[in-house]
Symmetry: C2
Subunit: 404 residues, 2 copies
């Protein structure tokens, strides 16, 4: 490490934090001849460019200065009102403005809640596997993560209850602060938490006095079956901090997401955000507000569902055709991801190395496992890849797998 | 605190962090009949609406999807190249892309450097007074701030050397991590650090092995006299983390700022930002890049200088006319702020309470003092207030002061 002249001045975070496996592989994926099944980025084809341009030109005519000026840390009032009516319409959930905070992407939600809740050594539960952006934010404040197995019905809450009991018996002084959960079409497994388990989780939160960090970027991208009520909606004890984003339904580039929670928690996160980045970008907030107000979000969600369900169908067809029968994967009913299990003796990292040689990339599974297991797993994202590249990439992977 | 049901789960940060005195007073300032000398917000009159709308419609025609898509955590390559040539032209400073990170406002720069450098109890020096957004970010990671007096030539670096010697003698194990400095037209004093002191500070950083956190949002808004080279430019040992923003020169609403530092420090902050908010908003970055490329930033800076120097002249005229002779204030040669010293026995908070009764607000001085001194000081911002409100507000303050 001789080329890091100020290493002796680093914090624990700088010494220990590992780069995001997704963000790092996306550098590679950005190269023009790479076929990427890696990032959970929206397909550029479906981004609502026309509607956004229309909104911008209207705003620029009507009230141009507001687009370029600072906003409050809490977020644009108009946008909050739009979000409140969106929840009212879609979930029958009544929110107050002071229960909402506008943030720079869902990732910032995980950072803010970690800041106000986590001290080094505090315990947070999380899926085994789960999205490492969420657990990474918690770990950067020193949280100790305990894994909860994930099956086809999401987090195994029954197993979690056993862990809670064991932990309380072995270490009564442990500070259990929460559980990180992606309830719908989880990243990376695509699994959705059942209603029964949602209710069980809420009961455990109340019994063991912890909070639930509900990260729900994919819930609206449901291709079939009935939606299940959000934890926030089911919650009668205000124990859920719910994070939702426009990144998968409208645009990640505007960096607009929000959190909703009990108002004193929101207030603490507002104060924290004052010292984090002062306020969310006004440009994106104004555009997002109009996008919802004009009914474009609803339409865009419907378009996305049609668009991505076709891509899901196609990638499953290709996997069925090209992958050996020993390779297992789920058939998600929404979201962006398929999670692949190779035979135990095959390493996904080895597969990735060979695939890179043929210009194909994906994200290996083990970064999603807090215990670094899952060496034989990997995640396929069908969201961004073109049909042509999807076909070629799955073929390449299939050919390598047949030889392994 | 009975209305904070989850207080027992809070982190130390949530328990101790005080809201930003500026962000809080801005809620009041947002009311339509308030005359505000509080926020350092740009005047909406001067925001380049026309140019931004032009850029947006061009981008929406040429490459619409890029505006709405995710970007890399490091930031948009085109924007970085524009920033590199901007520094080359304006300062003769040669930067490489890997020495730059695009961030959501300068405040995020302070958060990121705090994350990679600060452990609880680490020492950072800072002006007495200085902008509390900077020290607040450091404190949220547990930094202990030691104040350095500020005079008309900025931070009293000679005094700082004495403090350093005393500290090293009394507490040899102290981890001195850095100094937070706003070198040009400092917030809140308007003072500029002299060249001699800049060189002295760099020598101290090398001798005592700490870094310099150079926060320079106002440097380009110099109304008269020659610019002084930035600490980053004068630095031969790569000990400066330099933060600059477009918030005061172009638009705060786009939330685009950047940091430049030695590349391994930048790399650590990139990894940290992956878990903070993934990436800076693409919309703002693309617009900012074009704004610089088209030469609009240079023109806008020239316009700003003419515009704000007139406002500075006018507010000084008004202060000279309406304030009692016992009240002292500086005559800044750039930036947005005038710092007022009342006679020792007069409290700026009392003045603020009375002024609020007449719908006039400003920011009291004591939040800028880490030792909570400065009760007889306050900050006047002339940037955002209209000429009409400026005149009325200064008159109101003068009348109250004459009666105190």
């Amino acid at each position: 490490m001789g080329n890091e002249p100020f290493e002796h001045l680093y914090s624990r975070e700088a010494r220990t934090q590992q780069p995001s496996a997704i963000r790092e592989i996306c550098h590679l994926a950005g190269q023009p001849d790479i076929r990427s099944l890696a990032g959970g980025w929206p397909d550029p084809e479906i981004l609502p460019n026309k509607e956004t341009a229309e909104i911008f030109s209207e705003l620029a005519k009507d009230d141009p200065a507001c687009l370029l000026q600072y906003g409050t840390t809490e977020g644009l009032k108009d946008l909050k009102e739009q979000i409140c009516s969106f929840y009212k319409d879609s979930e029958g959930l009544s929110l107050k403005c002071e229960e909402l905070l506008i943030i720079h992407g869902a990732q910032q939600g995980m950072d803010l809640l970690s800041r106000i809740l986590i001290e080094p050594g505090d315990i947070v539960f999380a899926g085994l596997p789960t999205y490492f952006g969420g657990t990474g934010a918690l770990q950067s404040r020193g949280a100790e993560i305990i894994g909860v197995p994930v099956d086809e019905n999401g987090l195994n809450v029954e197993q979690m209850e056993i862990s809670l009991k064991e932990l309380k018996a072995a270490k009564p002084e442990a500070n259990i602060k929460g559980i990180y959960v992606i309830p719908n079409f989880q990243n990376p497994t695509g699994a959705t938490l059942s209603l029964k388990r949602r209710k069980h989780l809420l009961a455990l939160a109340d019994e063991y006095d912890f909070l639930i960090f509900e990260d729900d970027p994919y819930g609206e991208l449901r291709f079939e079956d009935q939606a299940i009520a959000s934890l926030r909606k089911l919650d009668t004890k205000e124990r859920v901090i719910h994070i939702r984003s426009l990144s998968k339904t409208f645009s990640p580039g505007v960096r607009v997401a929000w959190m909703t929670a009990e108002k004193s928690l929101i207030r603490k996160m507002v104060v924290s955000k004052q010292f984090v980045d002062s306020c969310t970008n006004s440009l994106g907030q104004h555009i997002a507000s109009e996008f919802i107000k004009k009914g474009y979000l609803k339409k865009q969600i419907a378009k996305n569902i049609e668009f991505y369900s076709k891509k899901r169908d196609r990638v499953l067809e290709l996997l069925d055709r090209h992958f050996p029968a020993t390779v297992k994967y789920n058939r998600p009913s929404g979201g962006f991801f398929i999670f692949v299990h190779l035979p135990e003796n095959i390493s996904a990292n080895d597969l990735l190395q060979k695939a890179k040689g043929q210009k194909v990339v994906f994200v290996s599974g083990s970064p999603f496992f807090i215990d670094h297991s899952g060496e034989n797993t990997f995640r396929i994202s069908y969201s961004q890849v073109s049909y042509e590249d999807m076909e070629a990439a799955v073929k390449v992977l299939g050919e390598i797998l047949h030889k392994l």
